[in-house]
Symmetry: C2
Subunit: 365 residues, 2 copies
């Protein structure tokens, strides 16, 4: 069926993942603005439209341009404003409802000094990850930036955005507590800004938490595909993972319990997770089925190491080696599906064949 490493996208699983979040957000009365950095594909974007999604988040200006070119008209660029992209953004803002993000006072100044088109602006808050954004207790700094934004005639100050990315590193049973802590910090801003829009929502909290207080929108991305990092934290089951990399088996070393596959860092990325046995793993190993779906992960096997094109599958026992003795392909459930999708640049979908991402169109990132 395949002749080289091929990223299979299981449309049914992906649609079920999308529908789950659409229904959950609806039930909570919160807007759902999926992050499209995970799939980066116009065609997959269409699947979201089928469930009524009409607004998205992206992680770069070129990605905003790609999805605007594919008919999306309400886009949040959930990344600090890049002044070197001012010209592209000015063009984009003339056709699309565009939300830009400012993540420091200097970053806000750069936006005010270089954008002369009508745009909406969100201020980024660091709700605990320690990456970008204002500290939520820095009300003086935040108030000053809001005043500066409001003084610019082109800018509509809309509210605040945060990403609780530290939720990716903890087990699901700790997510409710983290969510309570991060949303509490974040919604403090409501006291000062009662009309501000509050945008929130990494995959773990969006999936696990049941209560988002006064949050107005959720922006998870990874939940459309999931991956072994999420599964190993208990955020999803391996059965919900919607992408698997089909890899040719090239050599078996029974005496060393090792199997070599064509599938390495250029296909999967070098991200990893810790599996249930405590192994550092670059992916779980499944059998490829004739129809392009895959089996459950096979017990006793994991992707132990990868180099540029090689993957080395470790078997913990002779019976685990035996389980794959006739397989010409194995399917790797990736550690981090967003990066695997970015590496591969295209998917294979049953009954559809190859569908591309923005990366394939000339690496326009």
């Amino acid at each position: 069926m395949f002749s080289k490493p091929t990223l299979i996208l299981d449309e049914a699983k992906c649609r079920a993942n999308i529908k789950f979040m659409v229904d959950k957000a609806k039930g909570l009365g919160i807007a759902y603005r999926p992050h499209f950095k995970t799939h980066q594909s116009a065609e997959v974007g269409q699947w979201f439209r089928d469930y009524g999604v009409d607004k998205i988040a992206v992680s770069s200006v070129p990605m905003a341009q790609y999805f605007a070119d594919n008919g999306w008209t309400d886009i949040t660029i959930a990344f600090p404003y890049v002044k070197q992209q001012a010209d592209v953004l000015a063009n984009l803002a003339s056709g699309v409802k565009l939300q830009l993000v400012v993540s420091s006072a200097e970053n806000a100044e750069a936006l005010i000094g270089t954008i002369f088109q009508d745009v909406n602006v969100l201020i980024e808050i660091d709700s605990g990850q320690g990456r970008t954004g204002f500290q939520p207790y820095d009300l003086e700094g935040i108030n000053e930036v809001v005043a500066n934004l409001n003084a610019s005639e082109h800018i509509n100050f809309m509210g605040f955005l945060t990403h609780a990315g530290h939720s990716y590193n903890i087990p699901s049973k700790e997510i409710e507590a983290l969510n309570l802590e991060t949303t509490s910090r974040f919604i403090l801003l409501r006291n000062q800004y009662p009309n501000a829009m509050l945008s929130y929502g990494d995959t773990p909290t969006s999936i696990v938490a049941s209560e988002f207080m006064g949050i107005n929108e959720l922006r998870p991305g990874n939940n459309a595909f999931f991956d072994m990092q999420q599964a190993s934290n208990g955020i999803c089951s391996p059965q919900q993972i919607a992408v698997g990399l089909a890899c040719p088996v090239v050599a078996r070393y029974s005496e060393r319990n090792l199997v070599a596959i064509w599938g390495g860092a250029v296909h999967l990325s070098k991200d990893f997770y810790t599996d249930i046995s405590g192994n550092k793993s670059f992916g779980a190993i499944c059998k490829l089925q004739n129809d392009g779906t895959w089996s459950q992960p096979i017990e006793g096997l994991y992707l132990e190491s990868i180099s540029q094109e090689h993957g080395m599958v470790r078997a913990s026992s002779t019976s685990a080696m035996e389980a794959i003795k006739d397989d010409d392909f194995l399917v790797v459930l990736p550690a981090h599906s967003c990066l695997t999708a970015d590496c591969m640049g295209a998917y294979w979908v049953k009954d559809k064949g190859a569908i591309s991402t923005m990366v394939q169109s000339g690496k326009t990132r």
Copy 2:
């Protein structure tokens, strides 16, 4: 000069790196067959031609096809034979001198059963890395495979190939000892096969070692670019690194000694190294010069964490923060240049502008 993350390739440094290995191999009387998986670019390949290089190694069949299409006529695919690529290989073998590699008895059988075009075959030996290949002491297994290869009328058994990839993880002062150990193991095969060609040579041993006993050819790849993994092990100096990722600075957090740049895992890959202070680092930080070159790495700064598009530069002091307070761009010297080149798919070269790699032409990997 740039408006987004851009991988700058310093042609002068790259040419000096190429010339060093051409001269060293010539001095030793060993053939030089550079591995082109590092740069993956027809144009960079041309620079090697300028120094007399006429044979190459690649890591995949699509990469062999790409370089054959660009005029290379002697290509070793330094990866276990992939039977699913038999048709492509048959075509390829009709136009170029092609060396294929078999890495297990079953892998050799697959080749014998699917290739009906004249090809040269090398047997892979595991000289200590523990990845793919026959154990050098497994003479019975090796002899049987040689006999099987020789019995096939299309196959010319040529010799043996090994990759001492474990040399990447040790300091330069230990390389001579590792080289002695791996070459000793490898050249044992000479006793049994006096006419066999022996192909060897990762970057650390090729650069550092002064003696290769009876080795016939060296195949390093990374040495054309180098990177911070090599520099941190003392294999090269940071000044020899020929690629740097120019990244827009987007936000500064003086109170936390952090600077956010647009440059993340989709640009650099998630490979890392341990810097001189013991920090896990995704890259060293330099200043961008007006002419598209870069400064020495700035002391007290390193790339502490990356997510999909974000890079977070950590400053160890206020003076390190101060050193980059006016910079609109920073240049990251990557941890692993092969993967960064693969992620980016193109280079910017002074006086030449953008030059592409095979990845850019539709992700044909």
